[in-house]
């Protein structure tokens, strides 16, 4: 059986749900080897996190260059692993870091690249949703080792328990991959709520909250949801930028997206319109967000949300 590499996805030293999704997609193609790039001394701890996904082997590479030289160092090592292992394909998470690593690996290994896939089939055909989710495209890499980035939360992860073999390798990192240097790093602040791109439900607030996110947060908590925001809300300083959903924020594709006091500008839609179900609360019946709503309530979010929160909580008890 052919072997497929995935780049295990760690953010702030924590394994994300995306790793299992990548492994699940990769298992369609062949036997899965997860590459773990860890700071010196942390490889074993990182590898130990990979026990719930269809992963057969874990390849650990330790280097502090992954902290100090970021994308370029990761791409340099991953390319050397590809040369050594000759995998059928390489799957990487489709976020800023993952896409940039994939881009550099594609150049270095003279291979084709597909970004933002929502699925990958056994014959390495990737499915993408383009033009705001209005068109489905199937494509294949025609040259080199297929390098494919997979959008978080688009594949249902197979969380089976495994105990993969662990192999530790070491590589020299080229000087060209050390041209930029990280002097300080602040991992994202994790509140008590699920991570935006991993959440099954996202409740977002916009300018209509007028700066008061308490009703949005309470509804999110009743659903166990993550909280998102429009750019109008993040620009106003009402919610952290890291929670912005949209073209220049995060792309989310949860089971349910709830837009509260958000008009539905094209840049906001770009980050949420592939959500499985969309619920809207807005007091303006003309707001364009209603065009993509599965269920829309024309009304005041400050009246609707608290009652809906009560309603959801009542069902739980």
């Amino acid at each position: 059986m052919s072997s497929v590499l995935i780049l295990a996805d760690f953010i702030g030293g924590k394994n994300t749900k995306t790793t299992a999704e990548l492994a699940t997609a990769a298992a369609h193609i062949g036997d899965v080897t997860a590459v773990v790039l860890a700071p010196v001394g942390q490889g074993a701890a990182y590898a130990a996190a990979l026990v719930q996904a269809p992963i057969s082997n874990v390849l650990v590479v330790e280097s502090d260059s992954f902290l100090t030289h970021g994308v370029a160092a990761a791409a340099d090592v991953l390319t050397q692993i590809i040369a050594a292992k000759n995998p059928a394909a390489v799957l990487i998470a489709s976020h800023a870091f993952g896409k940039e690593v994939a881009g550099r690996v594609a150049v270095k290994s003279n291979s084709g690249i597909i970004t933002d896939a929502v699925d990958v089939a056994a014959d390495i055909t990737a499915t993408q949703l383009v033009f705001g989710g209005s068109t489905t495209v199937h494509s294949k890499i025609s040259h080199g080792t297929p390098i494919i980035t997979v959008r978080p939360n688009s594949i249902t992860a197979d969380l089976k328990s495994v105990s993969p073999t662990i192999e530790t390798l070491s590589f020299d990192i080229a000087d060209n991959a050390k041209k930029s240097t990280v002097t300080s790093s602040q991992p994202p602040v994790q509140g008590g709520r699920p991570e935006l791109t991993e959440a099954d439900i996202v409740v977002s607030g916009g300018r209509g909250t007028n700066g008061d996110f308490s009703a949005v947060e309470a509804f999110a908590d009743s659903l166990g949801a993550a909280v998102g925001a429009s750019r109008a809300a993040t620009d106003a300083g009402w919610y952290p930028h890291s929670h912005q959903v949209g073209q220049t924020g995060k792309t989310v594709s949860p089971q349910l997206y709830v837009a509260c006091g958000i008009s539905g500008a094209i840049q906001h839609r770009a980050g949420m319109q592939t959500s499985k179900a969309i619920l809207v609360i807005n007091k303006d019946p003309e707001a364009p967000i209603f065009e993509i709503a599965d269920f829309g309530v024309i009304g005041d979010l400050f009246a609707v949300l608290p009652k809906a929160t009560e309603g959801v909580n009542a069902r739980k008890s």
């Binding site: 870091f97 881009g103 690249i113 495209v137 890499i141 240097t181 002097t183 599965d294 024309i298 005041d300």
Partner: protein, 261 residues
């Protein structure tokens, strides 16, 4: 400093986009300057202005580089009217439908001939949405990659550039030496509108239109092929209700019916 800005002309975000023979139909849609690239132009101009200006007697030049059909000169002209000094447009029928690997190869080749200290890019083109071209250019040129910048500071004497990188992985402070590729996020600045004076001045600036042969790049092969593309079934029309006091209850009933709670 010699500064370059890579800009792309893209279909208007609101325009309905279609695929023709596996490629985006770029002919029958309104085209605009990729709005994320406006921030790159603005940042380049601000850096130039902060370090001796880019007027005729100034210490810096800002050159716009774009690869696209001839009509992309409209987008290039906009950058010139914002204040860029000169422009190179790589236009060749053989580049129609070029992917990121080819685009980055062509851009890297033109950049390397220009001996630039800094190259600014947007973080994403709103049509392809790949966010890979700046990293690919850095890889091809073997120079510093400083991408997803929400702040940029430059020290021309030390030939050093520092940025704050903001991504899902948090906030990093990063520096590198010239030459460096910098991509900027939209939070970094507020792009200026071209002034009347700027628009008039831009009319006199020339756009150097070159073809593929002039870049020295050979197109060897296609990297990926579209197997098929089909419009997705339109979303089933949703239900919209007006809240008369029972809106919340109906909303909760909808969630229950869809098994979301």
């Amino acid at each position: 400093m010699k500064i370059a800005v890579c800009i792309k002309q893209v279909p208007d975000s609101w325009a309905e986009k279609k695929m023709v023979n596996g490629l985006l139909d770029r002919v029958n849609v309104d085209a605009v300057l990729n709005d994320l690239d406006e921030y790159a132009i603005e940042e380049a101009l601000r850096i130039a202005e902060a370090h001796g200006g880019n007027e005729e007697s100034g210490a810096n030049t800002v050159t716009v580089i774009s690869m696209g059909p001839e009509r992309a000169s409209e987008a290039v002209r906009k950058a010139l009217s914002m204040g860029a000094n000169s422009a190179i447009l790589i236009s060749d029928p053989r580049l129609a439908g070029a992917d990121a690997l080819t685009t980055s190869k062509v851009l890297a080749s033109v950049i390397s001939k220009g001996d630039f200290d800094l190259v600014f890019c947007g973080t994403e083109s709103t049509d392809a949405r790949m966010s890979v071209v700046p990293a690919m250019i850095a890889e091809r040129l073997g120079c510093a990659q400083l991408t997803f910048a929400s702040a940029v500071t430059v020290d021309p004497t030390a030939k050093r550039v520092s940025i704050t990188r903001v991504t899902e992985a948090g906030v990093d402070e990063i520096f590198g030496e010239f030459p460096a590729i910098v991509s900027v996020v939209e939070k970094i600045n507020e792009p200026r509108y071209p002034s009347f004076k700027g628009i008039m001045a831009a009319k006199k600036k020339s756009i150097d239109v070159i073809d593929l042969a002039a870049t020295g790049v050979l197109i060897e092969n296609a990297w990926s092929v579209v197997v098929d593309a089909a419009p997705r079934p339109a979303r089933a029309a949703g239900i919209t209700i007006t809240d008369d006091g029972s809106g919340a209850d109906q909303l909760v009933a909808f969630l229950a019916q869809k098994k979301l709670i």
